[in-house]
């Protein structure tokens, strides 16, 4: 097997550091009983920025005798050279070909990376189709957000792990090790039958899918007694009790998120109706401030990074963000480490936070109103008013900012031209506000509008997606309406959204299209300069599939979705009622510190919302707050009013209160 990337190959490709490996913090286990490749289906700079794999890499490598190594998709230039010379894709650590690993784990971060999965398997010497994989070949496992509908990949993957991997993946690896130690009895099938007993594990080949005449799903039924009728996701009940990386790999070259990523909490309970992450990562579970602080110190020591990003779905919602930020800034000032937030909430508090963390004022502030009109913001349950936005930008302008970037979506369900034009109007109002506050003109407003793609397990999973023509027409409206000085309008061609939509709500029938598209040369579909829409359309046509079936059809109340047997534990009835409320423009409040909206997650998973503002809300047991026995001030007097005990959960092996 030829693995060597020769000097003249590396000299000929862009960014050769992508293929170097051996970065500080990378872990080499020459001898290992079980080896898993954590394969990211995109280039190094993108994959290295993914927190989930940083966590699993750290966690798996702590296991005795088990090695986790990294693999990324070679860029097109390198792939061509590898194919010319018959060079196999390997991991970066001990340079194992993917086919020499025991398992190859891909993360499904976005639908348009699926062709890369097929391509990486092929380059790594692994049979692309699961049914053709021999006994000596690795198992292909997937995880990540899109795993709640991996059906288009059903022919490719051996199994999937739903939800958070910190507990489930070690269980799977241990199960694999035992099976391997026993001499792999019963071949591949036997291992799958063992693995499927682990909660959260989904084996697509253990289910039969039947269709109605119109190709909607009739039923998805297990074809073996070992497979459960539905697979429910795994979550870690208390993030303070699981390992978080303290010494992540530090790349040589610049990656997309080239900084420490400190995960503050998981889940988001704001309930935006378009948001997939907001539904599938529930419930909200915060890490304790003192745990975070310790992790931050270790990471700074071990990486040498100069920036810590406090990441989560909406960091400004972290219950003790103010005091926590003050501590962090004070802790790291002398070490020249800055603290940053990936996103801001639309309020003055967030501007205050931005002021604290941002030394340089030149760069702009970014807000995400998501929709231009109040009507539309109510439809999506954004819970933000024009007044909130103008208030927030006023605070920003008063503090010296001159540039604002606003994120929107177009193509939201029920959107009218009026709603689209409201985006431009809102941007102009922001400019007027600048004049009002500073008495000057020259405020730069950038509008970025992405086209909305309905996702499974959101209130809009029933909704038709806008057609390409419609998206282009709406973009045209905005182009016209933003021909104003100092307003910049950014948008993407809608073609990629069409294919994203097809795969997001796709079914198993798409498997052959995926395979054919890959064979015809599709890869890196998420890269606009490589994406070939015409080829995709041809492929779908050749497979007898209609993109409109997936995207533009109104799905009925009773329709069975291809993903129904894969459960993030959000009740269908809740989503249906959210869709209904959306049509009526009715809001649903954040459940984090208020009352339970009955989405079902806490009850079905038996895991409460965890918030350290001094109270915890346990909807898993009953409706209402579980008050903490004691609010304990933080030991070394940080000024947090944080709880130091796990609320509403067993102390150690005991029963929940």
């Amino acid at each position: 097997m030829n693995k060597e990337l020769a000097i003249n190959m590396l000299a000929a490709v862009k960014k050769p550091a992508r293929y170097t490996g051996g970065e500080f913090g990378s872990i080499f286990k020459e001898e290992a009983e079980v080896r898993i490749a954590l394969a990211f289906p995109d280039v190094y700079e993108v994959g290295m920025s993914y927190l989930g794999f940083k966590i699993l890499y750290h966690l798996v490598n702590k296991m005795e005798g088990i090695a986790a190594e990294r693999a990324y998709a070679p860029w097109i230039d390198m792939e061509q050279l590898m194919r010319e010379r018959n060079i196999v894709l390997t991991t970066l650590e001990t340079k194992k070909a993917l086919c020499e690993c025991d398992l190859v784990g891909f993360t499904l971060q976005y639908e348009l990376s699926y062709t890369n999965i097929l391509n990486m398997l092929d380059l790594g010497g692994v049979s692309v189709l699961a049914a053709e994989r021999g006994d000596e070949e690795p198992f292909v496992v997937v995880g990540g957000p899109c795993v709640f509908n991996p059906e288009p990949l059903a022919d490719v993957i051996d199994f999937a792990i739903l939800g958070e991997g910190e507990e489930a993946l070690p269980e799977v690896l241990t199960c694999y090790r035992n099976w391997k130690r026993e001499g792999k009895p019963g071949g591949r099938q036997e291992f799958l039958h063992r693995a499927v007993r682990i909660p959260g594990v989904y084996v697509p080949s253990f289910y039969d899918v039947t269709y109605n005449e119109d190709f909607t799903i009739k039923a998805v039924t297990p074809n073996t007694p070992d497979a459960p009728a539905t697979v429910t996701k795994r979550v870690v009940a208390d993030l303070n009790n699981v390992d978080f990386p303290t010494a992540p790999v530090v790349p040589f070259g610049e990656i997309v998120h080239d900084r420490i990523m400190l995960e503050m909490f998981r889940g988001c309970s704001r309930g935006c109706r378009f948001c997939h992450a907001g539904m599938v990562y529930r419930p909200v579970r915060e890490r304790r401030p003192e745990v975070l602080r310790e992790l931050a110190h270790k990471q700074v020591d071990n990486t040498g990074y100069e920036e810590i990003s406090l990441v989560s779905l909406s960091t400004a919602d972290y219950s003790c963000l103010g005091p926590f930020l003050d501590t962090m800034i004070a802790d790291f000032k002398d070490r020249k480490v800055s603290v940053s937030l990936p996103s801001l909430r639309i309020d003055a508090f967030s501007v205050d936070v931005a002021k604290k963390v941002q030394a340089v004022r030149k760069s702009g502030l970014t807000f995400a109103p998501e929709a231009g009109s109040q009507r539309m913001r109510d439809v999506i349950n954004k819970g933000v008013t024009e007044e909130d936005l103008l208030h927030a930008v006023s605070a920003a302008f008063a503090n010296g900012w001159k540039k604002v970037k606003l994120y929107f979506m177009i193509g939201l369900p029920g959107e009218t031209d009026e709603d689209v034009l409201a985006i431009a109007r809102l941007a102009k109002k922001v400019q007027w506000k600048f004049k009002e506050i500073t008495g000057k003109g020259g405020c730069q407003v950038t509008i970025s509008a992405s086209s909305f793609v309905p996702k499974p397990y959101t209130a809009f999973q029933w909704a038709p997606q806008d057609t390409l023509e419609e998206i282009r027409r709406k973009q045209g409206l905005l182009i016209e309406a933003t021909r104003v000085k100092n307003i910049t309008f950014q948008y993407h061609d809608g073609k990629t959204s069409i294919m994203e939509g097809v795969f997001a709500r796709g079914d198993r029938r798409l498997g052959k299209a995926l395979y054919l598209a890959w064979q015809r040369g599709q890869r890196f579909d998420g890269w606009a300069d490589v994406f070939d829409f015409e080829r995709w359309q041809q492929v779908l046509q050749d497979c007898g599939l209609d993109p409109d079936f997936y995207n533009h059809r109104v799905r009925g109340d009773q329709e069975v979705f291809p993903w129904e047997h894969l459960q993030p534990a959000v009740n269908r009835a809740f989503l249906a009622s959210e869709y209904k409320k959306a049509k009526q423009g009715l809001l649903t409040a954040d459940c984090r510190q208020g009352h339970c909206n009955g989405c079902g997650v806490c009850q079905r998973l038996g895991v409460p919302v965890m918030d350290w503002s001094g109270r915890a809300y346990d909807a898993s047991k009953e409706k209402g707050f579980v008050s903490l026995a004691e609010k304990m001030a933080d030991g070394d007097n940080q000024g947090y009013s944080a709880a130091t005990q796990r609320p509403g959960l067993p102390k150690e092996g005991g029963e929940a209160e």
Binding site: P16, G22, N302, G304
Partner: protein, 234 residues
């Protein structure tokens, strides 16, 4: 006080760019918790620099990094701490300490020693002999950006002598290359020159180029090590 380290850029990481190499060393210094000095202002940066930029793909056993400190530390202890914080492919070979006022290392380098290994088995001896005998050997180099602009350089000004060893499957070249305040020439350009001037077909794109040493040169032409007081790493 300034610390000056001789470090390597070895095979494993030969394809990281100069910028990536510089960043990697900066982060290692931070991990080693050396008391580095920082510039003033909104965006303070660490006061460290490298003596010379190395071409991508070139292995080196003689990279020099200079670091300004806010308080004195023992050079050997600093070297040890730095070594622990460096990734595979970078080793600390030597260290010395000088005053802040000492001239930057960048300005004192006078020459470099190279070894180039090629998977090529033709007869190199005539070309080497001719090159060594020639008064001047010209090479026309295109400026990277402006295609029409061609710079004509005399290779012999930089490289006065070549030697070669040939083995069963490969050819190894040794030479010294002069470094002036205005720059130097690249090892690959020597190979291109040999191909053009002597009709050789050296596979330039497969050349394994290694910088073996970097040194100072005095007016008399004597070579001196870059670092003053050497604390060689064991």
């Amino acid at each position: 006080m300034k610390l000056r380290f001789q470090i390597t850029k070895e095979k494993e990481i030969r394809f990281i760019s100069h910028l990536e190499y510089v960043r990697t060393i900066g982060r290692a210094i931070r991990r080693a918790k050396l008391p580095a000095a920082y510039s003033q202002g909104f965006n303070p940066h660490m006061k460290y620099s490298l003596a010379s930029a190395l071409g991508v793909g070139v292995v080196s056993y003689a990279e020099f990094v200079e670091l300004e400190l806010t308080e004195p530390v023992h050079p050997l202890e600093a070297a040890e701490a730095l070594q622990k914080a460096l990734p595979r492919g970078i080793r600390v070979l030597a260290v010395d300490a000088v005053d802040n006022s000492a001239p930057a290392l960048m300005s004192v380098a006078g020459g470099a020693e190279y070894r180039v290994t090629l998977p090529w088995t033709g007869d190199i001896a005539p070309a080497v002999e001719a090159f060594n005998r020639a008064e001047a050997v010209f090479f026309e180099k295109q400026a990277p950006k402006a295609k029409e602009k061609v710079r004509r350089i005399d290779v012999k000004f930089y490289i006065s002598e070549l030697s070669a060893v040939q083995r069963e499957k490969e050819t190894e070249l040794h030479f010294h290359c002069r470094i002036t305040r205005d720059g130097s020439m690249k090892a690959v350009d020597l190979l291109n020159t040999l191909n053009e001037q002597y009709g050789l077909q050296l596979p330039v794109e497969k050349a394994d180029i290694e910088r073996m040493d970097l040194y100072r040169v005095d007016e008399m032409g004597n070579k001196w090590p870059m670092l003053d007081t050497l604390f060689e790493q064991g």
